[in-house]
């Protein structure tokens, strides 16, 4: 396979493909599997060419998410570094026991004698027309579980670096990619910082701290760019990882701005935004003058785009939340 030069912009999905390719090449304990992942090259093309290049280290499985994730767990306990693909985050739910009761407990209960250095790759979010069972953003469910690492990359660079970091991690990592952003393009440096839990300060500013991740990042960029034209300089932070998350960067920023807006596509109620806001409030006390959370309203996501648009975060709802914290309408 031809590899892109550092100067060439590649898509998010291609960046994942590249990260898998590089990981398979670097470490022969890496295996990659899932539904339609091998011979058909992946339902979204993430494993394109990898079966041809790496043979049966890249393979197809039946539609059996519990067995797939359990197999990743067992093989990681025995020394492999499996990367299992679950086609939609919604399908993680049929394998909840394996993830929460089995994978997450492995290291702790054995006092580190057993470990699960495995990666679950999935993608999530709503796209126009997708039904309620193919639209959810579920990262908060897993950030709630001690023992799991959770990443939500939003750019081709982060898709690459997060996945490399995840595969080298000695903990189980769940990577929630964004189907909507798969076609988006960007430059990817293969030697970029791949440390776990480090946020990306996308834009500096002193008016408000805006924290986001995953699919919501481009919406936030659009909102803060247009607010900048009106004279409000927002600091935009893409967490990239929500477990662990970069409290240091967020606290330092919020201490400077005194205002915090957290934006995610997951349902707002009990979303991870609540964790970010309360962590900042506990730390900064009265220094935090205003905060807002923006997320999907508490409803399943309907298929019709007319209806889903009423529920999902938009540039408009993000802009209004930011202006609210500044006290402007």
């Amino acid at each position: 396979m031809s590899t892109p030069t550092d100067a060439e912009a590649i898509t998010y999905i291609r960046a994942i493909n590249l990260a898998l390719d590089d990981a398979l090449a670097a470490d022969d304990s890496v295996i990659v599997f899932g539904e339609d992942v091998g011979i058909p090259n992946g339902p979204f093309g993430a494993s394109k060419g990898l079966r041809a290049a790496y043979g049966d280290r890249v393979f197809d499985t039946p539609i059996s998410e519990s067995a797939m994730i359990g197999a990743a767990l067992g093989s990681s306990m025995a020394g492999l570094r499996p990367v299992v693909e679950v086609m939609y985050a919604d399908f993680l739910l049929v394998a909840m026991d394996q993830i929460v009761n089995q994978v997450a407990n492995t290291r702790y209960v054995s006092r580190g004698r057993l470990t699960a250095p495995m990666v679950i790759r999935t993608q999530q979010g709503s796209t126009p027309g997708s039904c309620a069972q193919h639209s959810q953003s579920l990262e908060a469910l897993f950030a709630h579980i001690p023992g799991l690492r959770v990443a939500v990359p939003s750019t081709p660079q982060d898709a690459y670096s997060v996945l490399r970091g995840a595969i080298s991690s000695d903990d189980p990592v769940m990577v929630f990619e964004s189907r909507r952003l798969y076609p988006s393009k960007g430059h990817v440096r293969r030697d970029a910082d791949a440390r776990i839990g480090v946020a990306d300060v996308v834009r500096q500013g002193s008016a408000v701290t805006v924290v986001t991740w995953g699919t919501s990042r481009p919406l936030c960029e659009e909102a803060v760019d247009s607010l900048a034209l009106q004279g409000y300089e927002c600091e935009l932070i893409d967490l990239r990882w929500i477990s662990p998350w970069d409290t240091e960067t967020v606290l330092a920023s919020a201490a400077r701005t005194g205002r915090l807006v957290v934006v995610h596509e997951a349902v707002r109620n009990a979303g991870f935004g609540a964790e970010v806001v309360s962590t900042v409030a506990e730390s900064l006390g009265g220094q935090l003058q205003a905060c807002r959370r923006v997320g999907t309203l508490a409803s399943p996501i309907p298929s019709s785009p007319v209806l889903s648009a009423q529920l999902l975060p938009s540039v408009d709802t993000i802009t209004r939340a930011i202006l609210d914290t500044i006290g402007e309408k």
């Binding site: 539904e35 339609d36 011979i39 058909p40 339902p43 197809d60 499985t61 039946p62 539609i63 059996s64 519990s66 067995a67 919604d90 399908f91 049929v94 796209t127 126009p128 027309g129 997708s130 039904c131 309620a132 069972q133 193919h134 309203l297 508490a298 409803s299 399943p300 309907p302 298929s303 019709s304 785009p305 007319v306 209806l307 889903s308 648009a309 009423q310 529920l311």
Partner: protein
């Protein structure tokens, strides 16, 4: 010529023509999103619904358009739902892959592979306890036979003695992978492991499917257990509307096309009757699309309704 054969042809043709037009709609933007079509599999829902009572509850998959229409869901409302309009089905909430119409005992499509099995067990439990005489049926793909949900439900239905019908539509593929690469033993062999009867049938003949379903329904009642029907068929299109099907061996579609249930159904008819039926369905479907396009968009203020009872 028997009326049943004309009916089979007409009902299968209606599904085919509606789906072919829906595919165009996905391509030209009249339908936003994607659609999983049952082209080549129409004889299964049409045949099965002939044998089921009209009130027998049916649960289907995302490939459920044929089931909805065979249960008698009105085409205008069905098409409107797929188009994301304010239909009487789900008012745009369901779309192509998750629509339902309880008024027609169509309990819904399901976009989680195998997800419909446990609830069908439950439907059957309730109908048994209430002695309604109705027998629920669920359609799944062959790929779903590898989901734990399916096996738990078959075993539980067998030991608790709950009558329902599982119709496995074996269409040769699970997405992009041939079914035979994924499944250690055929569905019927697995049914035997749960001590339930299984009937294999040519899924490209509506009358054969109807006969098999009639027997399955009787067996479900006489054994008070789940019964499986494995219908052998061929998917004559992509897994979904955007599937380029690069994984298909050369010549396969042509070969499979020769088994097209619609061609077969038509060949059983007197040519003039066949042509008259064809023209009638073409006109009916064109009219349904025209009327569906007139349905209003969902009201924005409806978006948050029905999350809870009040």
């Amino acid at each position: 010529m028997m009326a049943a054969e004309v009916d089979d042809y007409r009902d299968m043709l209606r599904i085919r023509l509606i789906e072919e037009e829906l595919l165009k709609c996905v391509q030209d933007g009249r339908v936003i999103g994607s659609a999983h079509l049952c082209i080549g599999q129409e004889a299964i829902p049409v045949g099965a619904c002939r044998a089921l009572k009209s009130d027998d509850p049916v649960v289907a998959t995302y490939r459920g358009h044929g089931w909805a229409l065979a249960k008698g869901v009105p085409p205008v409302q069905f098409i409107g739902e797929v188009m994301g309009r304010d239909s009487t089905l789900n008012g745009g909430r369901g779309g192509s892959a998750y629509l339902s119409s309880p008024d027609h005992a169509f309990m819904g499509e399901n976009s989680i592979v195998g997800g419909g099995l446990p609830m069908t067990l439950g439907l059957a439990m309730a109908h048994q306890r209430r002695a309604t005489g109705l027998i629920p049926a669920v359609s799944i793909g062959d790929g779903a036979m590898n989901q734990g949900n399916v096996h738990e439900s078959l075993n539980m239905g067998s030991v608790l003695g709950i009558p329902f019908i599982v119709i496995v539509e074996n269409n040769g593929y699970a997405e992009m992978t041939p079914s035979t690469d994924l499944t250690a033993t055929p569905a019927a062999v697995r049914a035997a492991a749960y001590a339930i009867e299984a009937i294999e049938v040519d899924g490209n003949s509506a009358s054969a499917v109807a006969e098999a379903t009639r027997r399955a329904r009787e067996l479900a009642i006489s054994t008070q257990r789940p019964v499986m029907v494995e219908a052998h068929t061929r998917r004559l299109g992509g897994h979904y509307s955007g599937d380029a099907q690069a994984y298909r061996p050369k010549g396969e579609l042509e070969e499979w096309g020769r088994l097209d249930p619609l061609t077969r159904a038509r060949s059983l008819l007197d040519p003039t009757v066949a042509e008259a039926t064809y023209q009638q369905v073409v006109a009916e479907v064109a009219d349904a699309f025209a009327r569906a396009a007139q349905l209003p968009a969902p009201l924005e203020e409806e978006a948050m309704k029905h999350v809870y009872a009040n």
